[in-house]
Symmetry: C2
Subunit: 398 residues, 2 copies
């Protein structure tokens, strides 16, 4: 058989992590704190069925939903983004600055298509979202980690590394960060937007969790502070509507959107009109705000149970993040615990998490005593059972 392209070899180490992640999802017995899914119990099944019944007719939106659509996306879904998701944050966007994509991750892929030549540098948080690193590596980018403290990216280290490496992008998940659950403070966000302008670097702001806030005050996106068009705002409908619909959006300058348009036509033409029409009706039909309250309540309860379980079952010198929202917490265990080694035994006990090491592009053993724990799609009862198991296992290694 013909040889694979070079990019497949360059991404291989990260691809293995992603493959294992998906494989663990298929074991129904497993209590999985691994994946980043929201609560199945909170999915808007009845709402979606009602919407289909109402609008999938020849008279209303049936043929629109089933026929080819526009590359940028269904118009009233882009309007929903502008009015329901951006305007409440003080952002005045136009629908020409919005592109609907096939799930939040696709934005990272398309933006790499537009900007990344092999060898280009992308600065990432330490730790960062491993699935996006897979995308960056497929484009043969060089990922360099920027130091983080308890609030996220450290601006001094970031600016030095921008000067040193001349990156194309700074990739950042500022709100309820993946994997740590941390939220970047407003002054650093403002500074990030300014650094993008000053050094002509794209700030790629990945913000899929920000609507899922359970405590504390909302913080403006980095994009809010962007005056030059250097910040690109990527978001997803997976957490607030449905992951299975595979819908996300990107908000960027018209110039960037026009290039993303080309990359999108050369990827898959456009995103499912069927899913888009249903999602647009979810917003314009007035379902969103009530639904958001409901799912925040479900996830808040799970977070609280999870935090209680960590404090109860894990070793006393464990450090953990209390996330004000989102789906994850990050745990730092005593130094002698290796979470990568531990995972095999945990899986035998039918508990899954993601080992901390996976999230560090440094690959120097950093995070080897850490783990990302997702509470989004595990019921409180199972959180209790799974964390007790995991706690016993960890205690037995000390």
């Amino acid at each position: 058989m013909p040889k694979y392209a070079q990019r497949m070899y360059d991404m291989e180490d990260t691809a293995i992590i992603i493959r294992n992640l998906f494989n663990a999802m298929s074991d129904a017995e497993m209590i999985s704190f691994g994946g980043g899914a929201p609560a199945t119990e909170g999915l808007p099944v009845d709402i979606v069925r009602e919407i289909c019944n109402e609008v999938l007719t020849y008279e209303k939106r049936g043929t629109e939903a089933l026929q080819y659509g526009s590359v940028l996306g269904v118009k009233d879904l882009r309007e929903a983004v502008v009015n329901f998701l951006l305007k409440p944050k003080g952002i005045q966007a136009s629908i020409d600055e919005i592109l609907i994509v096939n799930g939040g991750l696709e934005t990272m892929n398309l933006l790499c298509q537009v900007y990344i030549n092999p060898g280009d540098v992308i600065l990432v948080e330490s730790p960062t979202f491993v699935h996006c690193v897979e995308i960056f590596k497929m484009f043969q980018a060089k990922c360099i980690a920027v130091d983080c403290d308890e609030h996220g990216l450290i601006m001094k280290d970031l600016e030095e590394k921008i000067q040193k490496y001349h990156p194309k992008f700074v990739y950042v998940i500022p709100t309820f960060q993946n994997p740590t659950g941390k939220t970047l403070p407003v002054e650093r966000r403002k500074k990030l937007a300014e650094l993008g302008t000053q050094y002509d670097v794209i700030i790629l702001e990945d913000d899929p969790y920000q609507e899922l806030r359970y405590s504390g005050e909302a913080v403006s996106p980095i994009k809010y502070f962007d005056k030059s068009g250097h910040t690109v705002y990527a978001n997803s409908f997976s957490k607030i509507f449905s992951p299975g619909s595979r819908l996300g959006f990107v908000y960027a300058s018209k110039e960037i959107i026009m290039k993303l348009f080309d990359a999108k036509t050369a990827t898959n033409s456009h995103t499912s009109t069927l899913a888009q029409v249903i999602c647009a009706e979810f917003f314009h039909g007035g379902y969103f705000s009530q639904h958001l309250k409901k799912i925040c309540e479900i996830h808040r309860q799970r977070r609280d149970v999870m935090i209680k379980c960590i404090d109860q079952y894990f070793p006393t010198n464990t450090k953990r993040v209390f996330p004000d929202g989102g789906l994850f917490t990050w745990v730092e265990l005593p130094n002698n615990i290796n979470t990568t080694d531990l995972l095999k035994e945990a899986n035998e006990n039918k508990v899954h998490y993601i080992a901390g090491e996976s999230f560090f592009v440094e690959a120097n053993g950093k995070g080897k005593n850490c783990m990302r724990i997702s509470f989004g799609n595990v019921t409180p009862e199972k959180i209790e059972i799974g964390m007790k198991r995991l706690g016993s296992l960890i205690q037995s290694k000390i």
Copy 2:
């Protein structure tokens, strides 16, 4: 702003064609023989609504449809591919050899991710589908045209060019070809599969129209003759179910599917489960065969009207293909007609087609007197009106 990646410059000439194509689609006054959409009147709107009502409940498939799913795709949709689309063609596939993608085109993108380094050669038909050329150029492949006669690819020229250029892929649309509507005879299909094996080249068989046959005998896919796993079979649900659902599939060896899995996770994780569940029920609920009969009848009538109109309104020395199926015919006008120049005037008269030149990667003026005419999504009445207008315009230039 940062400089774009090199691939965006390499694809620019083709991207312009694709942009214009999508823009022409948005003019509601236009009678468009341009795009490749199937009949809006044939879309299964009532069936889809019924399915949603039936299965989008908490008890049945509601949470499956709205939650994250598997990378390869929903299991019973892959089973539908195996049993409803491949088995009737004498092909015994396993579901591990099937990956569900976001529309037929995405397979070309993912296969390029897996195999194409910049500068790699892809052999294509002359003429070929311009939208796939956009994808190949985004991956910085060098597209080289292989000569075709009235039946399609000429095997002698193909083998010589394989020997000369050592291509990674031969890209071919063997059935009701895009843009010409021609069908490759069975002996050439067999030979193509053999050449793939003999020279270690991927035969990329793009076959989205093959179920839409209105006359003549069915011909086995190239993949049917593949003994070594060198043929990759790309297909789409756009023409037989719904373009707006954005569903397609690829059937290939397990080894290739596993690499496409990695490329898929680094593109958009997986295809919409919502759309997949509905499409799976469309097959397993027994709707497919009746629906296929219905849409074949609609398109057969449109083809017949279109052929009659060409013979009636176009100059007597016009050559045209009589397609046994699919959505296109190909017209060769007298030599002095330049269809690229003519398009502007046609658009002023609210008629659209795609100029022949666009489909030739040779870019040496080949096809300048040709046009691709789609009859799929224009009613017989509008075909009559549009073709009369277009015929008058052409007659005025002779």
